[in-house]
């Protein structure tokens, strides 16, 4: 079934749904920027950029609350059904994921500040950069798939999370080995580990967004490994 949200008899309803989607995608753009900035701040030991990430975080929290309110109003006033209902539900869910991605970006920014204060970690930057690139791509592709109602691309992006998880586990093993070899580095390497953990979580959230694309377009709930629900 094709997705059209601009054909309601009520023009106001068209506009409400359209602006809800736009608002969510704007929030998505902002969050994507946050992840990029946080990783850059870490890589280049730029505590100023990291501070900026922490400030913008507040805007993202506000955006989530506004999206929630707008979605609630649409439900209350329009009683959306079928694809309209799924659209509103998916936006609410994605907004929560985006807000958490924002939180993870803030954590990375805090690590960036910590690492500039405590001195750079001896290891782990390559891994951070590698995983950061992967999850940033996932996040972009997930939001892009949502914009285009593209289930195929959502499923492809969703599958990438497995590789991210594997890379994360292997990076963790490496960091543990390093800490065992040089216990003096533990506190700094721990910062790297927390960062990796945050990045890996961002991958999970991107995956959740992909699942919402499938829910929106197909009406199938494939969360928690229920891909068989996709008929």
């Amino acid at each position: 079934m094709e997705m059209h949200f601009d054909q309601h008899i009520s023009r106001q309803f068209n506009e409400d749904l359209e602006s809800l989607k736009t608002e969510m995608l704007e929030m998505g753009g902002k969050v994507t920027r946050q992840v990029a900035d946080a990783v850059d701040a870490l890589a280049s030991a730029d505590s100023e950029l990291a501070e900026k990430v922490l400030r913008v975080e507040e805007e993202i929290d506000r955006a989530e609350m506004e999206l929630d309110e707008h979605a609630t109003l649409i439900i209350a006033k329009r009683q959306p059904a079928a694809s309209d209902l799924r659209m509103v539900m998916s936006v609410i869910r994605i907004a929560r994921d985006l807000e958490r991605v924002g939180d993870e970006a803030s954590k990375v920014a805090k690590m960036a500040i910590a690492l500039t204060d405590e001195g750079t970690a001896p290891r782990g930057y390559t891994e951070i950069r590698h995983i950061a690139n992967a999850v940033r791509k996932m996040l972009n592709d997930a939001l892009d798939a949502y914009t285009r109602f593209d289930v195929k691309s959502a499923m492809e992006t969703l599958a990438e999370d497995e590789q991210v998880d594997m890379d994360y586990r292997s990076a963790v093993r490496e960091m543990i080995t390093y800490m065992m070899e040089d216990p003096r580095s533990i506190s700094r390497v721990m910062n790297v580990l927390w960062t990796l953990r945050s990045l890996e979580r961002i991958g999970d959230h991107a995956k959740n967004i992909c699942e919402q694309v499938v829910y929106l377009v197909k009406g199938a709930d494939i969360r928690h490994g229920n891909e068989q629900n996709l008929r």
Partner: protein, 291 residues
């Protein structure tokens, strides 16, 4: 005419729906109903039903079951044939001149349209509630007692008293009217009148209740009470309801049937219809697009 048993509603208005259909482009491609039109425990079975008003065909090859203790909601744009179809189920269409019903319709596997079928007991088994409450110009008591009396269900005063009280109680009206049973039914508020009509319908112990937009003339509070009542009545009756309010269909029914230009487009669990309908036309209608 003996169609007075349960109602004397404005059934004749139905003929006008067909004129509209002529002007709308026909969707010839829809022939097969999607979803689950059949029930394992069917009270009413309709197979390949066609209805004509003179030359014009109002219903095209509709097959549908209505299960025991089930509420089936019929939705669709004006003139889609949902009311016409509903009125086939207790032969209210017989009262419309030039109306012809074809196909197989059964109630408990007995034909509804048969040469030997007497419509008077049929309409006692299949009661009807109309859009506008239409109490008889009689007392509240007599409104409810009329049916049981003429059907010979009760003759003694004590029996009638019991039926009247029970029916009014089940319709959720007893407490409001018990002290003024001798007052005219027409003096009640709209919502109370509609509940009186429901009490009148259930007084003859029907097995099926047909409701043709029972709440469209009522305010939201009265509507909520009727919907609550429909849910309670489901324990004992099979209910088919035609409604223009999709929210109402979503609230009261277990299955929803979507009619479009005289065809049954989709029948599915109400949850499915309102979250993920199978047919594009259903989606377009329930989301307020119209395609």
């Amino acid at each position: 005419m003996t169609t007075m048993t349960l109602n004397v509603g404005p059934a004749v208005a139905a003929g006008t729906e067909t004129a509209e259909q002529e002007s709308v482009k026909t969707n010839a491609e829809i022939v097969k109903t999607v979803g689950q039109p059949f029930s394992d425990d069917a009270k009413l079975k309709m197979r390949n039903v066609n209805v004509f008003y003179g030359e014009a065909q109002a219903i095209h090859n509709v097959s549908l079951d209505i299960g025991r203790n089930e509420v089936v909601a019929m939705i669709g744009p004006s003139g889609c044939g949902k009311s016409t179809f509903l009125r086939c189920l207790n032969r209210m269409n017989d009262t419309i001149e030039g109306c012809r019903v074809e196909g197989e319709l059964t109630l408990d596997d007995e034909p509804i349209y048969g040469p030997k079928v007497d419509v008077v007991p049929l309409r006692a088994r299949v009661g009807m509630v109309f859009q506008k409450p239409n109490p008889f110009p009689k007392s509240i008591y007599d409104n409810v007692a009329y049916g049981p009396k003429i059907h010979g269900i009760a003759s003694r005063r004590a029996e009638l008293d019991e039926i009247v009280e029970n029916s009014l109680r089940r319709a959720g009206l007893w407490n409001e009217v018990k002290d003024r049973l001798d007052k005219p039914g027409t003096g009640l508020s709209g919502g109370q009148q509609q509940r009186l009509c429901i009490a009148r319908a259930i007084a003859v112990s029907p097995e099926v209740i047909l409701m043709d937009e029972p709440c469209s003339a009522l305010d939201p509070i009265a509507t909520a009470r009727i919907e609550e009542l429909i849910d309670e009545l489901r324990e004992n009756y099979t209910i088919a309801i035609v409604t223009h309010s999709m929210q109402q269909a979503a609230r009261v029914s277990q299955r929803t049937a979507y009619f479009h230009l005289g065809k049954l487009v989709e029948v599915n669990d109400t949850e499915t219809v309102f979250t993920n309908p199978e047919h594009e036309l259903t989606e377009a209608y329930i989301t307020g697009r119209f395609g």
